[in-house]
């Protein structure tokens, strides 16, 4: 996979985010300076760079290593790309005995390796589950990407998208008129199909719920069926809700590039619009990384949320909302509607290892499964070595969902595809449900490479939407 390196950001993508347009002349000095700064700002980075004993527990745990067999994709080897430079410039042993401890000067080759291999990490945190010290390669790769951005060697995919969020409001660059048009079209489709007028409101002042969802939900299958599912749930439960054209994106690529400032800036749009619209609750749609930023970071980045209704968790995941309504009997589902399907569930990496749902430890596994089991009769688990907190990344997370990394994405999907194939063959599974826009896009794209039909991946809320019993509270 030596050749597999994503496109470098163009000067205008870089400069829009306040990074140098291209590789600066004194990049070596700047990179070390930035590393020094990050070492004082992030305990994770400092402790993780010092603590690794090279025990090897993580070496076979990364999906990219399993898929590519490239030794630099072993989590510890990936960390070592940064650690070796850290040792050279920041530790006594590395300064005086570099060969002994594997310390390395920051050369152009090393910089290239950083760029390549820190963009072959999807920040899925699987390695951190297995490390005896909890060393999380995601933290290391975020730091590396931040250094790369600051010397002028950012990644095109991420930085271009962040630019779009600031300019247009969402990652896809879908402008307001197109969004409104899409949603009107959906209202017509749903009415035609179900005979019920289900609204898809935008920018409604005074709605109770602001729904923040990945823009992929407005754009294509299988995402859009999930959006229809959320709308039906809100409709049937009689909850007034709205989308925002200003903050029409849940995804936060600021996390991928390791930038606290960007992550905060992108999140701030949501606080701002929530206050302006005067909503009482913020609900997040099916989006794995977005849920990590929302669940784990929003309160810190853009809190406190004292202006919202404290009877509900802030933010709340759409699966939490749906399960709560099911439990209260506020919505009813007819499982037989999904009897043509045998479902398995893919735990998305960032949801599993970066967040929680509900009020119990491990709720992020329980809540979506309970939602699915309320909507289907036939549910099958995959190999337990590949689910719950041991789940595998889809192969496209963390800013790698770009066509210039397609070969890597196909290889990185290997462990999940193997586990899925087994249940397809042994237990007649027809569909795999997920609650992450990246997972859904990635699987639709790579499944055909594994001879699995691309429409085998579906949204959890498609299952809910299809099973939901409509009626009684039509407006």
């Amino acid at each position: 996979m030596d050749h597999s390196s994503p496109f470098v950001a163009k000067p205008d993508h870089q400069e829009a985010l306040g990074f140098p347009g291209e590789l600066v002349d004194n990049w070596q000095e700047k990179a070390i300076e930035k590393m020094g700064e990050l070492l004082t700002k992030y305990r994770s980075l400092k402790v993780f760079l010092d603590s690794c004993v090279k025990c090897g527990a993580c070496t076979d745990k990364c999906h990219y290593f399993q898929g590519t067999s490239d030794p630099k994709n072993m989590p510890v080897a990936r960390q070592d790309l940064l650690r070796n430079v850290y040792r050279r410039y920041f530790t006594l042993a590395g300064k005086y005995f570099p060969k002994l401890v594997g310390a390395q000067d920051l050369t152009e080759d090393v910089l290239d390796d950083w760029y390549k291999y820190f963009h072959q990490c999807s920040q899925c945190r699987r390695c951190s589950v297995f490390c005896p010290y909890g060393i999380d390669t995601a933290e290391i790769s975020m730091a590396a990407r931040e250094i790369l951005d600051h010397v002028g060697k950012g990644q095109k995919y991420c930085n271009e998208i962040i630019g779009k969020v600031h300019k247009v409001g969402n990652n896809l660059g879908l402008p307001e008129p197109a969004l409104v048009d899409t949603l009107e079209g959906l209202e017509e489709d749903v009415e035609e199909e179900t005979g019920h007028v289900v609204r898809f409101p935008v920018d409604v002042q005074g709605a109770d719920v602001l729904l923040i969802t990945p823009s992929a939900d407005f754009f294509a299958e299988p995402h859009i069926d999930g959006l229809i599912g959320y709308a039906k749930v809100f409709h049937q439960a009689g909850i007034s809700w709205t989308l925002s054209s200003y903050a029409s994106e849940a995804g936060n690529f600021g996390m991928f590039i390791g930038s606290y400032e960007q992550m905060q800036k992108i999140s701030w749009r949501i606080r701002k619009i929530a206050m302006e619209l005067g909503v009482k609750r913020i609900v997040v749609g099916e989006c794995g990384h977005a849920w990590r930023v929302a669940y784990s970071f929003w309160n810190t980045l853009i809190g406190p949320f004292d202006f919202l209704d404290q009877n509900y968790p802030v933010p709340q995941h759409i699966c939490e909302v749906t399960l709560d309504l099911i439990d209260k009997g506020a919505i009813k589902l007819d499982k037989e509607a999904n009897d043509d399907k045998v479902i398995t569930y893919h735990d998305s990496c960032n949801v599993s290892r970066g967040t929680r749902m509900g009020n119990m430890e491990g709720g992020q596994f329980i809540v979506p499964r309970r939602v699915i089991k309320s909507a289907v009769n036939h549910f099958v688990e995959m190999n337990p070595e590949t689910t719950f907190d041991k789940t595998y990344c889809c192969g496209g997370g963390g800013g790698l969902l770009t066509d210039d990394l397609l070969e890597l994405r196909v290889k990185g999907a290997l462990p999940r595809m193997e586990a899925l194939k087994t249940v397809i063959e042994d237990q007649k599974v027809t569909h795999m449900a997920a609650i992450c826009a990246i997972c859904k896009s990635q699987f639709s794209k790579v499944m055909p490479y594994y001879d699995i039909p691309m429409d085998s991946i579906i949204s959890v809320h498609q299952l809910v939407g299809d099973a939901l019993i409509m009626g009684n509270n039509d407006s």
């Binding site: 070492l39 700002k41 992030y42 305990r43 994770s44 400092k46 402790v47 010092d50 603590s51 690794c52 004993v53 090279k54 025990c55 090897g56 527990a57 993580c58 070496t59 745990k61 030794p71 072993m74 510890v76 080897a77 070592d80 530790t91 042993a93 005995f97 060969k99 002994l100 401890v101 594997g102 951190s128 589950v129 297995f130 490390c131 005896p132 010290y133 909890g134 060393i135 999380d136 606290y260 701030w268 669940y295 784990s296 970071f297 309160n299 810190t300 809190g303 406190p304 968790p313 802030v314 933010p315 290892r353 970066g354 967040t355 929680r356 119990m360 430890e361 491990g362 709720g363 907190d389």
Partner: protein, 245 residues
């Protein structure tokens, strides 16, 4: 005071100062470096008490390593358990009268010396024969294993091959502790043992042995899962907080 006694006494003080000072400095650095975001590896405990149990399982049982790789766990745990008991057993050279529990532990302590050695050799074999681990190994990793293996071997040599007068050893050790210096027992294995231990203490704060304090500061293991309930602002992030818009 003989030359060797002087040399070893000085060496021990110097190495202890480096060990404690270096480690203290590292721990202070870890403690004062902020962890600006909640990043526990989930599922994580919802309470501080839960975190204590999680940490205890990590530090005492190597729980994550157990889930990861049973062979590395077996060797690693055997080595660390052995090391712990052996160190504890050594308290008999530093206490007068010897604590009851230390006295009781003596026979087990000797077996634990072998357990420690077995664990170390197992880990070393993996480092040499498993390709993935060989790839990530630096010369310092071999040296570290060699150093600790030699410490264990010289210790066991004194027990089984060439006895050292432990009354003299104890007098020397207590002398160091209470600044009332006594002659160094000049047996070869004892001096070598002491020399290697001093070397270990000196390299400790500059090496991967920092995993010992590091694990307690690992944000993925020591954080409570309460980010929806509590804000978690680092001092440098608080400045950004004021400028948000």
């Amino acid at each position: 005071m003989g030359f060797l006694t002087f040399l070893f006494t000085l060496l021990l003080y110097v190495s202890v100062v480096i060990f404690i000072g270096g480690l203290g400095y590292r721990i202070a650095t870890y403690a004062k470096t902020p962890a600006p975001l909640k990043i526990p590896t989930m599922p994580a405990p919802l309470t501080q008490g839960g975190v204590r149990i999680r940490m205890l399982k990590e530090v005492v049982l190597f729980h994550s390593l157990f889930r990861s790789n049973k062979i590395i766990w077996l060797f690693g745990w055997l080595f660390h358990l052995g090391l712990f008991v052996v160190l504890f057993r050594h308290l008999r050279y530093a206490t007068e009268p010897v604590w009851e529990i230390v006295a009781v532990m003596q026979p087990i302590g000797v077996y634990m010396g072998f357990a420690m050695l077995a664990g170390l050799l197992g880990l070393w074999a993996r480092r040499i024969f498993v390709e993935r681990i060989r790839y990530i190994t630096n010369p310092s990793d071999h040296l570290m294993l060699g150093l600790i293996v030699l410490i264990a071997v010289t210790g066991l040599m004194m027990k089984y091959v060439s006895h050292t007068d432990i009354v003299q050893v104890k007098a020397f050790a207590l002398g160091i502790l209470y600044f009332d210096w006594q002659p160094l027992p000049t047996d070869f294995f004892f001096m070598l043992h002491l020399l290697l231990v001093a070397a270990l203490m000196i390299v400790f704060p500059f090496s991967k042995l920092l995993h010992a304090p590091g694990v307690f500061f690992s944000p993925t293991r020591n954080q409570v899962d309460d980010s929806r309930e509590k804000r978690h602002i680092a001092p440098w992030a608080a400045e950004l907080d004021d400028k948000r818009q």
